[in-house]
């Protein structure tokens, strides 16, 4: 699905966000990316959803070098990648139905897209997607009147409507409470698994990453620090990953004590663990 070789990304003249990332992701894989804030995780995701271009190195999506894509091919490739962001990047003033139907924009003609703003098209797809994420009754609500968790569900519903091959979620649960975080991650994982989508999630919570994902990629200072199944991610590795990052000391303490916050209910899907 993805082949990244020696990717670097430099912003402006000074700041290098990624510094030689090599990563392969196979179709259907579920991957969690963890690391301290400022490590370059978000930059990595914006490269993966083709919003940014690498400064050097090669990024291949489905075998094609992204740097050589034409405008049309780039748009085409983007329709196959669905992204869920940390802040709900929805248009608050539009009603939920339009934000969800925006998942169709890669397929619709411009005329169809504009017509849909006046009279929503293919409403049943939006309605079904919202029902899947558990807020079917919010179809015609104004998006900025929903709670943070509900908006994140709208973002997931949009990706469902888009029906991409890859789902990228950049810290999708960092702004919701822990129990909702578990619900949303479970939802993302199950939805991706049903339709054999590749899922990459950027997570702040190490607990969630280790409990839900069969492959953990640690990123620090723009480099891949480790790329391992969760049972081989040791506390020592995590300490090195988060060294100097005070915010994460508390969650490392809990892990060191053998604390399992979610119990058996949210183990990885069977068949994923090596």
């Amino acid at each position: 699905m993805y082949r990244l070789r020696e990717i670097t990304k430099v912003f402006g003249r000074e700041t290098s966000a990624l510094d030689g990332v090599t990563l392969h992701v196979a179709p259907g894989e579920h991957v969690a990316v963890i690391g301290p804030s400022g490590a370059g995780k978000t930059t990595l995701f914006r490269l993966l959803n083709l919003a940014l271009r690498p400064t050097s190195g090669s990024l291949r999506f489905e075998g094609a070098d992204v740097a050589t894509l034409s405008d049309a091919a780039l748009r085409q490739a983007r329709t196959r990648i669905g992204t869920i962001y940390q802040q709900q990047n929805l248009v608050g003033r539009l009603r939920v139905v339009h934000n969800v139907l925006a998942g169709h924009l890669g397929r619709w003609s411009t005329a169809a897209a504009l017509a849909s703003l006046v009279r929503p098209r293919e409403v049943e797809t939006a309605s079904a997607a919202l029902a899947r994420v558990g807020i079917g009754e919010k179809l015609y609500a104004r998006t900025d009147e929903l709670s943070g968790g509900q908006q994140q569900r709208v973002a997931i519903a949009r990706v469902l409507v888009q029906d991409p091959d890859v789902v990228l979620a950049d810290e999708p649960v960092s702004s919701v409470d822990p129990s909702l975080a578990v619900t949303l991650i479970t939802l993302l994982r199950d939805l991706s698994d049903e339709s054999r989508k590749t899922l990459l999630v950027n997570l702040h919570s190490v607990d969630l990453a280790l409990s839900f994902f069969p492959r953990i990629v640690g990123v620090r200072a723009g480099r891949v620090a480790f790329d391992l199944p969760p049972d081989r991610v040791t506390v020592d590795l995590l300490e090195a990953l988060y060294a100097g990052d005070r915010d994460d000391e508390a969650q490392l303490e809990r892990l060191r004590d053998g604390y399992d916050p979610f119990g058996r209910a949210c183990r990885p899907l069977t068949g994923f663990r090596p």
């Binding site: 290098s16 085409q76 983007r78 992204t83 539009l94 339009h98 890669g106 897209a113 303490e253």
Partner: protein
């Protein structure tokens, strides 16, 4: 837990808190300008309380009370009041017709930079939109740099006395302001939803109508209504140079020392402005 020094800092240069001396220089220049202005503008509060000045004020106030409310005079006012309202409404409409297209052309995020132009920025071909953008911005600056009464003065010479030069003056001067503000509203919308739409494969038009327009529209309408409030006040002033409306009546009555009429006219203008403020305020509160 042990602190391991980070091996590869993300930023290669250290953060610095050095302040430049430039703000101080500006502050001194500002203070000097202020002192100089007071001298050049001949500010002298004593002039206000001199005997002649007080006598003039007294004559004006005595002449103004009681305001003239005869049925004949009030009947005479109906037309200028209607004219003032019409000048402000038509003038604002003209301003939107001028300001909206120019404002779009003067928006950098629509013309040459930002999310919508990612490919052109990468290939350094953004120069295509740049000249159009620069011309639109320059036009808008000229339109709003010249005050509306100067425009009105010129249009009175061109198309004669009456409300039409007032409409043109407000249309052009306010068109310049609206265009500038429209472009700023468009540039300040949150770019993240736009990037999200684009990342899902939406076309540029779709990005504009699903991401940009919904974010900008309420502020557009709200600011246009606010400009309409200002246009009511302006259309009163424009009468002084012969562009119709209440102002023309005020100027006439003043020139004939009919201060009781002036008071009635000013009171009417006040009611009109307050009414428009109220209506547009209510509308804007519902929008935002």
């Amino acid at each position: 837990m042990a602190t391991i020094p980070s091996d590869a800092p993300v930023a290669r240069s250290l953060a610095s808190d050095r302040k430049s001396g430039f703000p101080w220089l500006l502050a001194v220049a500002f203070a000097l300008t202020l002192v100089g202005s007071l001298r050049v503008a001949e500010v002298d509060p004593r002039l206000l309380v001199e005997r002649d000045a007080l006598a003039n004020v007294g004559r004006f106030v005595a002449g103004a009370w009681p305001p003239r409310v005869s049925a004949e005079f009030l009947g005479l006012m109906a037309r200028p009041v209607a004219e003032t309202i019409q000048i402000s409404v038509t003038g604002t409409l003209f301003a939107v017709l001028i300001g909206f297209p120019l404002g779009i052309l003067a928006t950098s995020t629509l013309m040459w930079r930002g999310v919508l132009h990612e490919r052109r920025v990468q290939r350094r071909r953004w120069l295509l939109g740049l000249p159009v953008y620069a011309v639109a911005r320059a036009l808008l600056s000229v339109f709003r740099a010249i005050p509306e009464y100067v425009w009105a003065f010129m249009f009175v010479r061109a198309v004669g006395l009456g409300p039409f030069p007032g409409v043109l003056a407000i249309g052009i001067a306010y068109g310049g302001m609206l265009g500038k503000v429209y472009s700023e509203i468009l540039e300040s919308v949150d770019p993240r939803p736009l990037e999200t739409l684009q990342a899902a494969g939406a076309s540029r038009m779709a990005v504009v109508f699903y991401g940009l327009v919904p974010q900008a529209l309420p502020t557009f309408v709200s600011y246009t209504l606010y400009r309409w409030e200002c246009a009511i006040r302006a259309s009163a002033i424009l009468g002084f140079v012969g562009a119709g409306g209440l102002g023309q009546q005020i100027e006439l009555s003043m020139r004939m020392f009919q201060f009781d009429e002036v008071l009635t006219l000013l009171a009417t203008l006040f009611v009109l402005v307050a009414l428009v403020d109220f209506i547009s305020g209510r509308l804007r509160a519902r929008l935002l």
